[in-house]
Symmetry: C2
Subunit: 304 residues, 2 copies
Amino acid sequence: MSFEPLIEKIAQKKNPTVMGLDPVLDYIPAFMKDAAVSQYGDTFKAAGEAIFAFNKALIDAAADLIPAVKPQSAFYEMYGIEGMIALERTIAYAKEAGLYVILDVKRNDIGNTAEAYAKAFLGETQLFSSKAQATPVDCVTVNPYLGIDGIEPFVKAAAQYDKSMFILVKTSNKSSGDFQDMDMGGLPLYRRVGAKVEEWGEVYRAASGYSPCGAVVGATYPKQLTELREALPHTFFLIPGYGAQGGAAKDIAGAFDAKGQGAIVNSSRALMCAYKKAGDDGSNLAKHTRDAVIAMRDDINAVL
Amino acid sequence: MSFEPLIEKIAQKKNPTVMGLDPVLDYIPAFMKDAAVSQYGDTFKAAGEAIFAFNKALIDAAADLIPAVKPQSAFYEMYGIEGMIALERTIAYAKEAGLYVILDVKRNDIGNTAEAYAKAFLGETQLFSSKAQATPVDCVTVNPYLGIDGIEPFVKAAAQYDKSMFILVKTSNKSSGDFQDMDMGGLPLYRRVGAKVEEWGEVYRAASGYSPCGAVVGATYPKQLTELREALPHTFFLIPGYGAQGGAAKDIAGAFDAKGQGAIVNSSRALMCAYKKAGDDGSNLAKHTRDAVIAMRDDINAVL
């Protein structure tokens, strides 16, 4: 129910972090790219193959250490159909490896369209005389701009299929304040959205105390993280912005609850490119990835 | 540049409307579904084939009457990879028919991720030693919640590749006011976003006076449409919510500028299901679709 499977995996692995899978071609070891190009040429197909080979190596390296992965849909969509095939293969591979899969799609739309998205990722699609799962994941990210109409189909699908979502509240980017920080009658917009997230999930709270409606709150805004943790006691947090985007462990300590739970911290580039940073050509990708995953885990556990 | 190609097509066809392509299986004539199922079984593949056959029939029926189509990505994503293939075929077919293609994806993310989306839909993707277009359309819909970081990559790609975008300002759904109508220091959020849209497009204004940064404003909020037309003189409007969602021609008159330009009105269900409403089994889909397209065109032109 809700985030319980994720909370359990975090506890098992003593690791409240998620590996982002945002596969830019530049991140991929040359030998993997060469293999794909020699087989499929300079094509989207080769890109998809190289991306999946890379993701597979990363998952193989880290699956026993991490509870979850978070593929970022944009970095697959930019390779068209072949990118989407690589995404589906990655999701399936991660699920087989026992990982919780958070698909970062930041979708939202008016009610019946949001319902189509909820079916695509959390629920089932009606075919001609049966139902089937299109791109089944455990959790998606969702944008709140359209209000409850655009959220409700995700909440219902999450409740029905034991899935979850993270709704954008205070994002990690520099300009997140353009609208999110603007005052709305004494509270900034991100607080108004946060309050709604707490409300939308209320009837679906699980044994952990958390509802299936989580929130995205950036590591780059430590003050807001602490403030939101207090204001939203039943809302699980996804925290991007640690590492490459500038957030440090001390910045995110306030995002966790009294039991050291209630949040998961994402890192993409720092983990995916650990082998590069070590000056390796990818021959020892597994070792460098594991070292980086362990360093991040220990860095964050130290402040809890 | 900017919306000029769309403005030109609207003028040529004397029709400021766009046909939404949101292909729910229920909308598709039984004979098209039967043909797909008999060939591919009760599968996503059959769904994709039926969807493309339906879209092709709709485009064939209406291409000489309408300037543009607007596929809604959610209704393709819910059929997985096969849905995405149907979407790509639909886009290519509409382009060949000379139509302006607005892809309704409502994407947004932090800067480098928004850049990946902008490449996917408006620009080009870097492969190994060449660039290629993933899902090339003329225009996309974009969500503003993350501020300028998440918009700028779309604006730059639009300027570089002569494309455009519609940014969500005041959406057509019932709960759009949850956040969009909340007061932010004397103006509602949708006005604050609208002002930013006007500002973001400022340096890229084309001969028509309109920038590549358009706005989504729902037909279901006539007062706000008129108010936004006055406040945002350089912002082209995409108007959903006419027809099935309840908006009438008189409700949207205020969205157009003094020359009767500056906006395009979407209808999906009312056009796609015109044959059904007429009690037809799809044998005369072309005639009924044309009649509905012409009725909508004339209904809207009558108030300009």
